[in-house]
C-alpha cells in the first residue's frame, strides 16, 4: 500500500509536525515502506487471535481512592514560561 503526499501533509498537520517541501517526498517514501511491511503482516491469518492491547502479559493494578498529592503549585510554576493569578498563560486560544 502506498500513501499519497497529501495524506502525509494532513497527518503532519494533525500531529503538529512541520515537514518542509524538500523533506516531504522522502518522508512519504519512508512511510510507504513501513506500510509495505504492514501489508506483509496483514497476510497472516489472525482469525483466532485476541487483539493485543499491551505486549506485557499482565493486567492493570488499581490504586485505592486516596488523596496523596499536596499542593506544589509554586514549584511547578517556577519553571513555567508565564503565569498570572495562579494560572498558566498560553497564547490566546479562540474558538
Amino acid at each position: 500500500m502506498a500513501i499519497e503526499q497529501g495524506e502525509v501533509e494532513k497527518i503532519a498537520e494533525l500531529a503538529r509536525i512541520r515537514i518542509s517541501k524538500e523533506e516531504i517526498g522522502d518522508v512519504t517514501q519512508r512511510i510507504t515502506e513501513v506500510l509495505q511491511m504492514v501489508d506483509q503482516l496483514q497476510a497472516v491469518d489472525t482469525r483466532d487471535i485476541e487483539p493485543m492491547a499491551n505486549p506485557l502479559d499482565a493486567t492493570q493494578r488499581l490504586r485505592p481512592d486516596e488523596v496523596t498529592q499536596s499542593n506544589r503549585r509554586d514549584a511547578f510554576q517556577a519553571i513555567a514560561p508565564a503565569v498570572e493569578n495562579g494560572l498558566y498563560l498560553v497564547p490566546k486560544v479562540i474558538e
Binding site: 499491551n54 488499581l62 490504586r63 508565564a82 498563560l89 497564547p91 490566546k92 479562540i94
Partner: protein, 480 residues
Amino acid sequence: MQWETIIGLEVHLQLATKSKIFSGSSTTFGAEPNTQASAVDLAMPGMLPVLNEQAVRYAVKFGLGIGAQISKRSVFDRKNYFYPDLPKGYQISQFDAPIVGKGSFEILMEDGSSRTIGITRAHLEEDAGKSLHEDFNDHTGIDLNRAGTPLLEIVSEPDIRSAAEAVAYLKALHSLVTYLGISDGNMAEGSMRCDVNISLRPIGSKTLGTRAEIKNVNSFRFVEKAIHHEFQRQADILEDGGKITQETRLYDADRDETRSMRSKEVANDYRYFPEPDLLPVVIDDIYIESIRESLPELPVEKRSRFTAQYGLGPYDANVLSDSRPLADYFETVAGECGDAKIAANWVQVELLGQLNRAGSAIEKCPVSATALGALISRILDKTISGKMAKQVFESMWNGEGAADDIIEARGLLQVSDTAAIDAIVDDVLSASAAQVQQYLDSDEAKRKKLVGFFVGQVMKLSKGQANPQMVNELLAKKLA
C-alpha cells in the same frame, strides 16, 4: 414537510471520587487555580498514570444500574488532539473496549407514559482542564485542577424524539446516578455535561439524516432550548433544498442560538490507539457481584413500589421518587401520619412549593419529616382544619416549633365540644331574631342562603375554631 427529530445524547458525568482517575490529586470543586494539579496532571515527563479503583467501581455500578453488559476486560486508549487545557496532547479514554456495554432504562413523561431509551455504551476517561479566555489581553489562562477528574461518558442510542424526551432522559439519568451515589450530579458545577446529537428526517422515513453535534448544553432548560433552536435551523435549511453539514456547534445561551464551532481541518480525527502506559483492566465475577449486592433500590423500582404500596398515580410516584432524600422524607411523613395520599399531597404541594420559593433543597429543609407527619395527624384527627394546617406549617417553616405547640400557643384548636358550640349557636340565634323570623318565613332555596349567614356568625364568634360540620348540624336541628 413534517419532520421527525432524532436525538442522541452524550453525557459526561464527573464521578464522585476523592482523588483523580490517574493521580492522587484532590478533586474538590472550587479550589484555588492549579493547587490540585500534580506532576501527572501536568504531563511532566516520565509520569505514569495509575488507575483509581473507585472510578472502576462506580462505572460498574452504573452499568449494573442500567442492566448493561459489564466488560470483564476493558482497554484504555489515547484520543489525540491539541488544546492547551490538555497538557499531554491526548486524553486517556476508552475506544473500542469500553467498560460498560449496551443497556437501557425507562423514562417517564409528564403525561404518565413511559419509554425505554437504549444506552449504547459508557466508558471511563479523564476530564480536561479549564481555559479562561477573559481577563488576559493576548493570553488564555489555564487552570488544570479539573484535569484528570474521572468522567463516565454515557452515550445514548438515537432513541429520543423530542426536547421533552431529552429533558426526561436527563432527569431520569440524574436521578439514577445520584441514587447510585456515583456522582453529585451538580450541573451548575459541571458534574453533568451534555452534548446533543440531532438530525431531522421526513416523518415515515427509515434512514437517518446528517446530524449536527451541539456542545456546551449544561442545564435541563438549555437542552430544551438548544434542541428547539437547532430543529428550526435544520428544518429551514432542508425546506430550502439545502444540506446539513456534519459539524460541531456551540450553544450560546445568551443569544439562544447555536453556531459552528470547529473548522474542518480539525474535524474529528483523533487517531485513537491503545494507551501504552496502562495495561488492560480485568475484573472478575466476584468483584461485579459484590457491587451488584451493594446496589440500592433504584428510582424505577421505588416508583413502582410507591404505586403499589401507597396507591399513588405514576406522576406523583415519579416526583416523590426523584431523589433518595425526597423519597425517604415522603415515606417518613406517610408512616408518621398513616395516610400516604395526604402525605404525598402535602410533600408535593406545600413542602416542595416552599422549598422552590426558598430556592432550597430537601436536605436543608427546616421542617423534619416526623414534624410534618405530626402536623398532618392533627388534620386527620380533626384537631385543626386543612386551612389552618397551612398556617401552622408556615410557622413551623419559620422555626416556631412543633405543630402541637403552635396550635396550642395560638389557640387554633378546632372546637369540637358540643356544649361549647351549642352555646355559641344559641347566642347567635338570640341576637339575630329578625333573620330567624325571615328564615322561618322563607322557602327552601332562600333558607340555604340564610343558613350561610348563621354559620358565618358562629365562625366569627368562635374565631374560626368551631368545627364547621358540627355547626351545620346544630343549626339544622335548632331551626327545624
